[in-house]
Amino acid sequence: MSIKINILTKSLWAYHAATSPCNNCDIEILDVFTPRHDVERFGIVLAGSVRHADVLVVTGVPNFKTKERLKKLYAQAARPCFVVAVGGCACGRIMFRDSYNSPCAVDEVIPVDVYIPGCPPKPEAIIAGIVKLIDKIKGKK
């Protein structure tokens, strides 16, 4: 395992991309940074700008407007950039599948690395998902 990957997994900066969610997943994502779960222990911080980000944390089911924004955001991020889909909507657009304003799921717009299902997923589940992402980056199964 190269040192490059090792240091990348020790300082993942997350950008929170909300593509028309109902805000429950966003609250759970912010819970991960609060004293109880404190992921800054592992070097994970929220980045203000997508240029600084290593991980794109996507919530919600894209509609016609946010689909374009999401595509743009992913193009603007500096490589390597990983994508985590948080919540049932971002993973497979659950009950919005046949909705008139839901053109596609997140993984039809940008490549998703890790799916974290749940409505909303608990902070523990999100941390477990991040651990899976780190394992994936390191090339473990």
């Binding site: 490059k4 240091i7 990348l8 020790k10 300082s11 609060t34 004293p35 404190d38 800054e40 222990r41 592992f42 070097g43 980045a47 203000g48 700008s49 240029r51 600084h52 290593d54 603007q76 500096a78 490589r79 390597p80």
Partner: protein
């Protein structure tokens, strides 16, 4: 060879950047403890810098490429010069050259100017808001900061080099022990809070309102250079305050304790204050802080 060593290794880039990154970790850790969190491990800031060096560098299509990429490096190089001059002055006070206090004061503005130039050349609306706020903030804090320096110069009987100021304090007691010196120290402490771009004066990089402000378009290596410049500032400014106001002797332990006390004051101010609006910050610096600075100059002139 000797010059190159002191510029690049000790007391220049390598030593100062490590010290600054470590001080940055103390800041993060204490902030976390104040918020009942655990906080990152001690090597976190070093890892962040290394990671940013490996990341892709994105240059905005509509921006000016040369100014965007070169301005962080200009700020970085001038900061290395500042820490080398400061370190040499503390190492051997008799060797410092005449007027290096003025040189240091000028060079300390360059990182802020570099941020403004870089942000303006990135052609991003958030960055230009951040740049304009940074510009106003410079206009605000430079006046009281220079007045606080003037107090030191008056109290050292017109000595303009750091070595002479340090020697005078070793001979006649630190400037902070007098009324005017203590007032000027408080003024300078508030000014370095603004120079470091920390809360309550971080409106140019306000994450919650204008994303990352002036740094919004930076990524990869230039961002790492900017973070290193900030680490150097976090090391250089408290050391400058110590050498101007608070030298009893040049023992290493006493210098380190003083550095940590000033760092602690900065971190506590950062954690107990909300962000000011830019107009409030201007009123603050041009009102009470400038008044205090002028008062301390007057006190120094009448010999208190």
């Amino acid at each position: 060879m000797d010059v190159l060593f002191s510029y690049l290794v000790f007391p220049g880039f390598l030593f100062s950047a490590s010290a600054g990154l470590f001080a940055g970790w103390i800041d993060r850790k204490l902030t976390a403890r104040i918020q009942y969190r655990v906080g990152p491990p001690w090597y976190q800031n070093f890892v962040d810098i290394l990671k940013l060096c490996y990341k892709e560098t994105v240059v905005p299509y509509a921006g000016s490429r040369a100014a965007f990429l070169l301005s962080p490096i200009a700020g970085f190089l001038s900061m290395i010069l500042v820490v080398s001059i400061l370190g040499r002055a503390i190492q051997s006070p008799l060797e410092s050259f005449a007027g290096d206090l003025i040189v240091v004061t000028y060079l300390l503005i360059i990182p802020a100017l570099a941020v403004i130039i870089g942000a303006s050349s990135s052609n991003n609306p958030f960055a230009s808001i951040g740049a304009s706020r940074e510009m106003k903030l410079i206009l605000g804090y430079e006046l009281p900061f220079v007045l606080a320096m003037a107090v030191v110069v008056i109290k050292s009987h017109g000595a303009l080099n750091l070595g002479a100021i340090i020697n005078r304090q070793i001979a006649f007691g630190p400037h902070i022990a007098s009324f005017s010196g203590a007032l000027a120290f408080v003024v300078a402490l508030l000014c370095i809070q603004a120079k470091l771009c920390l809360v309550p004066f971080d409106m140019s990089e306000a994450e919650q309102e204008i994303m990352a402000g002036a740094l919004v378009e930076y990524s990869g290596f230039p961002l790492a250079v900017i973070k290193l410049t900030k680490a150097l500032l976090l090391y250089a400014l408290p050391v400058l305050l110590i050498s101007l106001f608070w030298v009893n002797n040049l023992n290493l332990p006493s210098l380190i304790v003083k550095y940590f006390l000033i760092l602690l004051a900065i971190i506590l101010i950062k954690n107990t204050n909300p962000r000011l609006r830019i107009d409030q910050a201007m009123k603050f610096f041009w009102g009470p802080v400038s008044f205090l600075a002028v008062l301390s100059v007057v006190l120094a002139l009448i010999g208190l």
